[in-house]
Symmetry: C2
Subunit: 530 residues, 2 copies
């Protein structure tokens, strides 16, 4: 019962793509074609003769097309068991239909074109899903095609075998049920909406098992969101060990940190937070500055670039250094492309995962958080600042520091709250000089950022260090609740602060800045991230 | 066209719950009943006469029941437009069917009972979805019931109006499309599985708009996972301001921190990390110890309990203190119940969100992370330790400290990585004494935990402080990569360490512990959380 020749086919398609070549193949196979209204017209025009469906059903097309295919005859022809029910079918005058080619009324298209509720209702297909589901249920004998992109493989399959194999039929069956599930998911959400009810249905496929989850006692899987056109899932693994659950989370975070940076840039992520970030013209310098943001944590990190990776950049990792301790081992490197030389160089590191992916394509409008049987959905955080203004006596020259401020805000947006970063300009590049992440108390985040910055500047003279800190910009993800953050910054010689503003203590905080001649801008936009 | 009397009904149900009272009502209304095989048998037994469906379709039940309802007559009777198509229907001899009562072959039940693939296929309903979807499409005229729990409201609706209203029909229509979408989602996933393909379909409903997302420029919504039986979504808001997106995230984190604690316990969460946690017998002391874990960050925090809240505990917040600065303002308080006195007391704080929810009911087996068009799924982290063993010369007496170790591991499991906690025993209670969260460098997490612990002990004498630190247990979410963490702990007088083990430098780390006479256990289970 494996190979089934296609002797009788039913064609009823809303999307006519690739219809004619398929029908021609069926004719060549000696297959009889049954078809409905619009489909039949197209076949006629191509000189392909077919049987009008009403001839088979014994019923007319009725009610403005609402009734065309649904009938005892058609669904029986699809559903009866070719072995067990053969005699019964013969007695009832039912001849088998071996192939259904059908896709559904364009509910989605009408929705996207802003069709009225009545138009939407009219575009809910009833006969189509019935045929598709009947054929799919009886896939042991029947082939169902719901997607024009499958016609070529059907043609190949049926031509080479003069019949269709069970594995092919089963594959098309699963696709058919998915097609109907997607269709009804879309309808269900819209019908809820018509009642003022919000619902969400999400479908993910291409699932792969991962070695384990965040920890080895947790099983894990990775899926692609079906509808998504720019999924993170689509990254290409060019080299290296299997990716872990945590690698994938960190890859996402590393790409998130590069969002909003137009120049060539690099992010260094450890435990889901960027601890290094740099941007500018020269990729070879950029990696050095990004790494320098936290050169201790950078070992074993995940590193992402937004430009094709060059050999000179790759050499920064010194993977061929004879002294192993001089080699900079990292877990994952991501770039939109790799020069052949850079790739060859990086491949020296056997375990290093090399990922080709353009993070700039990630532009998902929504962010989802799953919490124990519930779901939070929100717009992604896409606005860095709005109506930013200097609020201190000492003017914050936003025009002159636009790039550095945007750079700092890009960093803070990607770091877990409460967070503080210090960013600076160095040799025409921008660098994350220190960051404090994930603290319940903002003051500790400030302290962490400053401590890291000072550590990064430890080889400078006292004077140079002060100069660097006074030129740096301190960025806070949310407003300061008290003056203590400003006082701590002032004590360390910080002279420029960027924060959203919005505290009831803003007047006191501005006053404190003025006392220390600190320039501060309010950006108007908070960047909490948890 | 609003009220439609039910003159002719089609009953064809797999789940016979509440069938008879519904049918009796229909009979009383003078409604004609059409029914199929098993449904008809039940009606007969209850003395309710009905018309065998084959009388209407003009076709026999065929192919072992695969063909029963699908026919030109039945679907026409459901689908024709009662106004536009009236004459056509009459010409074709089609009488309207005003009500469809149908639920589907028990695919889910067969799946849960471990049915074979063939049994699953046989339990894919074809006729049912066709009738349901046809009736739903024509909801302007037709009522469809897919859920026995809706029969009582149908009875009420039809009795009081002697007909069914459009709003009711529309509500049932949306439910019907959801029913079919859920059904086909389940089938699609199983059919994928039959091909060795992993897919996931998730459905969420009861969506509500939130004021905004993590930040005010982000729109946001909150949904319930449809299938979930213990959803976080089901918490009850007893009092207070509207919940924010961040509140909901923090509520979840606060409840997560209590998981695995059998005694009465309390967690204090700020920015998604527990900064306070305590457990023991006396709730009044527990809140004080939990608050004391970080009494600065605790202001404006989210606080959860796993026992009914008592008045004496509520009084800890001093909400009636005449000196406003002595009142302990928090954002949200969650408990499985509140004594009437405690509730009255807490309600003095106008904005305080008071949430009734039993966090112990959260036992979701899977955790989902959405990443830009992809999905990571993993088992939830349910194992605190496995084959834990003392690995140092100084024996770690796990039997004596089982409760404290489990407490520390519960805390660390709920804190963002890299994380370190210090926990201690105090007056028969267990307390989180200090924590370091979300650090790219573990050493900084250790330093943060120790600094916080020392701050919390600052009023003690030097000797007492040392005593406390030497009796405390330091817990790490993952292994130590180097000896520096142990050295830092040793320098501060820490004498007990709990960590999973698994580093290639474990021998050196054990040796370092031995040098400082630190007792250490390896728990075998890492607790990364990002």
């Amino acid at each position: 019962m494996n190979l089934i020749p296609i002797k009788r086919a039913l064609l009823s398609v809303s999307d006519k793509t690739n219809l004619i070549p398929l029908a021609q193949t069926l004719v060549q196979m000696g297959c009889e074609i049954i078809s409905t209204g619009g489909t039949r017209k197209q076949l006629d025009e191509a000189g392909i003769s077919s049987i009008e469906i009403s001839t088979v059903t014994g019923n007319p097309e009725a009610f403005g097309g609402r009734m065309k295919t649904i009938s005892f005859h058609i669904e029986s022809a699809l559903l009866f068991d070719r072995k067990k029910d053969a005699q019964e079918a013969m007695d009832l005058g039912i001849a088998p239909i071996d192939l259904v080619v059908c896709n559904l009324y364009p509910f989605k298209k009408v929705l996207e074109q802003g069709g009225s509720f009545e138009e939407l209702i009219e575009n809910i297909d009833i006969g189509g899903p019935t045929m598709i589901r009947a054929a799919a249920k009886n896939f042991k004998y029947v082939t169902v095609l719901v997607d024009p992109t499958d016609y070529p493989s059907f043609i190949e399959e049926s031509k080479s075998n003069a019949a269709v194999s069970l594995p092919f039929r089963q594959k098309m069956m699963a696709k058919a049920f998915n097609h109907c599930a997607d269709y009804d998911a879309m309808i269900a959400v819209e019908m809820d909406k018509s009642l003022g009810q919000h619902s969400v249905r999400l479908a993910f496929d291409q699932g792969m098992s991962l070695r384990y989850g965040e920890n080895s006692h947790q099983k894990a899987w990775f899926f692609r969101e079906k509808k998504d056109t720019n999924s993170l899932f689509d990254f290409e693994i060019l080299h290296g060990k299997e990716l872990s659950f945590n690698n994938i989370m960190d890859i996402n975070s590393a790409l998130e940190a590069l969002k909003g940076l137009d120049n060539s840039a690099c992010s260094v992520v450890k435990h889901n937070n960027p601890c290094g970030l740099a941007s500018g013209e020269n990729q070879k310098d950029i990696i050095a500055y990004a790494w320098g943001g936290d050169s201790i944590s950078a070992f074993g990190s995940i590193i992402a670039f937004n430009r094709p990776l060059e050999l000179e950049t790759a050499k920064f990792f010194q993977l061929d250094h004879e002294n192993k301790s001089m080699r900079k081992f990292i877990e994952v490197i991501i770039a939109p492309a790799f020069s052949p030389e850079a790739l060859t160089y990086l491949q020296q590191h056997k375990n290093l995962r090399i990922i080709r992916f353009n993070g700039q394509q990630l532009n998902q409008p929504l962010d989802y958080r799953f919490l124990n049987g519930s779901l939070l959905v929100q717009d992604t955080d896409q606005i860095l600042m709005q109506d930013a203004k200097s609020v201190t006596g000492q003017n914050f020259d936003l025009d002159a520091h636009q790039d550095l401020v945007r750079f700092g805000l890009s960093a803070i947006r990607a770091i877990k709250s409460n967070s503080i970063v210090l960013v600076r300009r160095i040799n025409n590049h921008l660098q994350l000089l220190g960051m404090g992440a994930g603290q319940p108390n903002r003051l500790i985040a400030t302290k962490l950022a400053i401590d890291k910055a000072k550590e990064n500047l430890k080889d400078l003279s006292e004077e140079e260090r002060k100069e660097q800190l006074s030129a740096a910009v301190m960025v806070s993800d949310a407003f300061f609740p008290f003056e203590d953050n400003v006082e701590l910054a002032a004590a360390e010689g910080i002279r420029n602060i960027v924060q959203p503003g919005g505290s009831i203590r803003d007047p006191q905080i501005i006053e404190t800045c003025n006392r220390y001649q600190i320039a501060m801008i309010f950006t108007g936009i908070r960047h909490f991230k948890h």
